[in-house]
Symmetry: C2
Subunit: 408 residues, 2 copies
């Protein structure tokens, strides 16, 4: 439907007339009332009226083991809202979010709406271009600890990670502006460490500095970080709203990739009955808003997101259904080198292998940890088993001794 953006909801109700419910949404979230309007008003209002696109009722089976719900898709006229994500979200899931057991499964904004969003400035492809790495998954590492560390402590951690040959290093999302490691000085010492490591590794490296502070200062803080030499930003999108990301990503002066952190996402996606589905929250909306990388819980750690949901997030980031450039999926938590074949099997080649404990917990230290990851990636690319590759690669061997190999 041209000129309409659609939303799909899963509505749980033991006895509701879902036709009536759908109509109530289509009318209630647009023109407010319909049947009782005079004909002349109807003619004037018709272009503002929401439309019921589909209603897919799931009746519980006779065992009573599951629940009655319907997947309802409503089309909202673009004419009703402005070209920003808060407007779309408040229209489609503002008041409605509070209306019983209802989860927002998907949004399909119109082409016209989407055309207002330049999306990722780099995306997966652009990040590869910055690094000059086109033929393998990227490896990212996370500081072991950041709170309470001074500049020298962070520098040393950074250097060890960089020496391991990782492509990307990110701040912890809980590192805020603080006297021990203030933004510009932190960027400085870490970029110096990157330069030092480059003399050994010969590699490019992106450091994602955590962008924090008051909302209306985010743009200035981003530019301060960039002026100090930052070549990437980490951003807690959900604490500030998708529009802040969209505006940062669209700013021509913010010419570095942005990694979206999912902090607080667990308040929104996990319930089957409420909230916003993960593929939309951490996939499609991050991409429309312009994240270059999107982090989300991996299916391998102790904190799991079910694998099918994981892969749906990945698909939302990479598929060819949006005009915005594909975004690097970064499944995170519980990653060690012995998981690399499985990650590449599950996620394909366009993925960032991201680890914290799996780097720093390596018996040989963080540099060996990064090397073990790079070796694991090389093993998969060469079609060699990790065990075989480990015979000639001691860092990978230690990693496997420590964590094992997991193939499913």
């Amino acid at each position: 439907m041209n000129g309409y953006s659609t939303a799909t909801y899963r509505v749980f109700d033991e006895q509701a007339d879902f036709e009536k419910k759908a109509l109530g949404i289509a009318v209630g979230l647009t023109v407010g009332s319909w049947t009782e309007l005079p004909e002349t008003t109807k003619r004037r209002m018709e272009k503002h009226l929401g439309q019921v696109v589909s209603i897919d009722v799931h009746e519980p089976d006779s065992s009573g083991g599951d629940e009655r719900y319907a997947d309802i898709t409503i089309a909202y006229p673009d004419i009703n809202f402005s070209r920003d994500l808060p407007a779309l979200l408040v229209t489609a899931f503002g008041k409605l979010s509070m209306d019983g057991k209802i989860k927002l499964l998907d949004l399909q904004p119109s082409g016209e709406f989407l055309s207002a969003f330049p999306g990722p400035k780099f995306g997966a492809k652009g990040v590869r271009a910055l690094l000059g790495v086109h033929d393998r998954p990227l490896v990212m590492s996370i500081f072991k600890s950041v709170i309470g560390y001074d500049l020298e402590g962070l520098r040393e951690q950074f250097l060890q990670q960089a020496l391991g040959g990782v492509d990307l290093i990110k701040d912890d999302e809980i590192l805020f502006e603080n006297p021990l490691s203030p933004l510009e000085k932190r960027v400085n010492v870490c970029q110096e460490a990157a330069k030092q490591a480059r003399e050994t590794t010969g590699q490019q490296l992106i450091y994602f500095t955590n962008l924090t502070g008051p909302t209306f200062k985010l743009r200035d803080n981003a530019k301060r970080a960039i002026d100090a030499g930052a070549n990437g930003l980490l951003f807690n999108v959900l604490a500030y709203g998708f529009d802040a990301l969209a505006e940062l990503a669209a700013d021509p002066e913010i010419r570095v990739p942005i990694a979206a952190h999912p902090a607080m996402a667990g308040a929104v996606y996990p319930s089957p009955y409420h909230g916003i589905a993960a593929p939309l929250l951490l996939g499609k909306l991050m991409r429309i808003a312009g994240a270059d990388l999107s982090l989300f819980p991996s299916p391998y750690g102790s904190v799991v997101m079910p694998k099918e949901e994981n892969l749906a997030v990945r698909d939302s980031l990479l598929n060819d259904k949006l005009p915005q450039a594909p975004v690097f999926p970064v499944p995170s938590a519980g990653i060690h080198p012995g998981l690399v074949p499985l990650i590449l099997h599950d996620f394909g080649p366009e993925v960032v292998v991201n680890a914290g404990g799996g780097v720093h917990g390596h018996p040989g230290g963080a540099a060996a940890g990064g090397q073990a990851f790079r070796q694991a990636v090389d093993a998969v690319r060469s079609g060699v088993s990790l065990e075989a590759y480990a015979e000639t690669h001691p860092e990978l061997r230690s990693a496997i001794q420590r964590w094992g190999v997991r193939t499913s």
Copy 2:
């Protein structure tokens, strides 16, 4: 604990060792690791380490009818995060929000943290002062429909509402910048209508104009609205994050009250297993961030929030436990004049009686609808039953005939 801000979580787990879990949170969300640190590092890190304050385990009864959970309170050192709400929320419920079945029940920021937040510029008291109304609950009304209406249509709706003697009129939260009723012109015609009504009613009136648009333009848009004559702003806080509200509320040029709309809150508060509890989300955080009024689902409509949760939201807005001024609670949805005694019984005198259908659906029109609400408020204040008062007040009589009186 001086210098610490605490968070209380409800963690569901059939078999977890909750002591271990609590320690894991206290360490994991602060210094990252502890027991294995060298003593000298421990001494340096101690002031950054989170502390377990309490663990209250609820074991299921033998019937197996309920679930095993623990309420865990953790104290986070203020030194770890900056003085903004995204920093506090990401620290206390960033990564942790994704860690299984866990709900954030409460936050108790330290006095020092709270001192960074001026809170509501007006609050309940200040809004009363603006209106010159000190001896009764306020009455708010909502436009019947706004989408698809031109300025003349909105003006007429506004005038009828204002003629009914309501104190506050708010835009619909789904009214965005649009060619039919652009911000400044809308403010203009509505304030003209307010002036016209004042000649009849003799009353002050606050019109809450919906503040929308890109995040980094919110401040400018607020000032544009105020320059055009707006004397109140409605704001979809959760679409932009609490910090945007905090910065708007703290801006000395934004010298009008702000009503916080709960749009999208249903994605966050309703699940018992995930998200953020309503009294924190729509109560305490709105107050710290500086809302002057906070809207939330009433316990009376078809869309209900359980009454005890409602009253907990109200308490968070009004109690004397915060340095920030008390905020007007606005329980919304399903309100008609026959509910006024019950609302005042449940919520007490410091409440805004807010209605849409209960104003516009009055058989005598919106002006009569507003009058019926004012009469219902007067009846309660005089200690007279609605039925008795209605004998001499035809607008109230019609309302009662239409909707009845509900006393529990």
